[in-house]
């Protein structure tokens, strides 16, 4: 049980870190749209439009790491695995 919980905690930590890094390593708040700037060639105005894109932020990464930490802590509450006893 302990081992399982530790493995799940590790998988969660690695997966969340991987997703966060792979989706832009956003060091701000989670975003569901990102700004896209274009320059109007006649007026020179830089316009800002938003493109729908999910970008996890530090608060999501932090929540996932916290969950992984809690799972890992919970694994220690399960105690050491008992050795197998052979019944005769």
């Amino acid at each position: 049980m302990r081992k399982k919980l530790l493995l799940i905690a590790l998988a969660l930590a690695l997966a969340s870190a991987g997703v966060w890094l792979g989706m832009g390593a956003n060091r701000g708040w989670t975003k569901t749209s990102v700004p896209k700037k274009t320059v109007d060639e006649v007026t020179g105005i830089e316009s800002v439009n938003y493109e729908r894109r999910f970008q996890p932020g530090l608060e999501l990464l932090g929540a996932a790491m916290l969950a992984a930490g809690l799972l890992a802590s919970a694994s220690f509450l399960c105690g050491k695995p008992k050795p197998n006893q052979h019944h005769q």
């Binding site: 708040w29 989670t30 749209s33 990102v34 006649v42 007026t43 105005i45 439009n49």
Partner: protein, 203 residues
């Protein structure tokens, strides 16, 4: 001979008057380029967003820019920030209360320190900014760029002129009753604003 000179003078005056006539520029942009960008400092990340629901009319005379008058309106519902929870708060009653105050307006009353160089005119524009139902007189530095006969380049089959207005200035959210309880170390009191808009005067 004397009559010819008088006629020529009259014709020249008429031509100059026609060329120098003030024009009404419409800032409702079908291309959706017009925008206002806002930024507030915050600990994790600066809160930055934009609004593109710009409309309004400005009367501008390139020969007499000091006489410029007009009103620009930004639809409060068009304000956008990339975080959906933050956007909901922004539009909510504690912040902009967009359902009760759907428009943010600036009405220009007078210009000072007017300087023109080529197609660009800079001036300090004094007017009334109305935000969340609070109206305050402010003075902002503005740059006008008059683009004669450029409307046709932007919008096919239309003749006319363009007027580009750019302004960068700051206001305090506490002056407009925008969530005064929010501590300034969590969200800055100062809002940096940047306006980039183009109006058209078709002929």
């Amino acid at each position: 001979m004397k009559n010819t000179i008088i006629n020529l003078f009259a014709l020249t005056s008429l031509a100059s008057a026609a060329a120098a006539a003030p024009q009404d520029f419409d800032f409702k942009d079908p291309k959706g380029v017009n925008n206002a960008v806002f930024t507030l400092d915050a600990p994790l990340e600066a809160i930055s967003g934009s609004a593109n629901g710009v409309s309004g009319t400005v009367r501008f005379d390139p020969a007499d820019p000091a006489a410029t008058k007009g009103k620009i309106t930004v639809a409060a519902s068009s304000l956008h920030v990339p975080n959906p929870v933050m956007k909901e708060h922004l539009h909510g009653p504690q912040w902009l209360d967009t359902s009760r105050h759907p428009e943010i307006t600036f009405e220009a009353k007078s210009l000072a320190n007017v300087k023109t160089s080529g197609e660009n005119t800079t001036a300090d524009v004094t007017g009334t900014l109305t935000l969340k139902g609070v109206a305050r007189e402010i003075t902002v530095p503005v740059r006008f760029t008059y683009l004669k006969d450029k409307l046709g380049v932007r919008v096919p089959n239309q003749q006319g002129d363009l007027l580009v207005i750019r302004a960068n200035f700051s206001i305090k959210r506490s002056d407009y009753g925008i969530n005064p309880k929010a501590p300034t170390d969590k969200v800055a009191d100062t809002i940096e604003l940047s306006l980039s808009i183009a109006g058209a005067a078709p002929r």
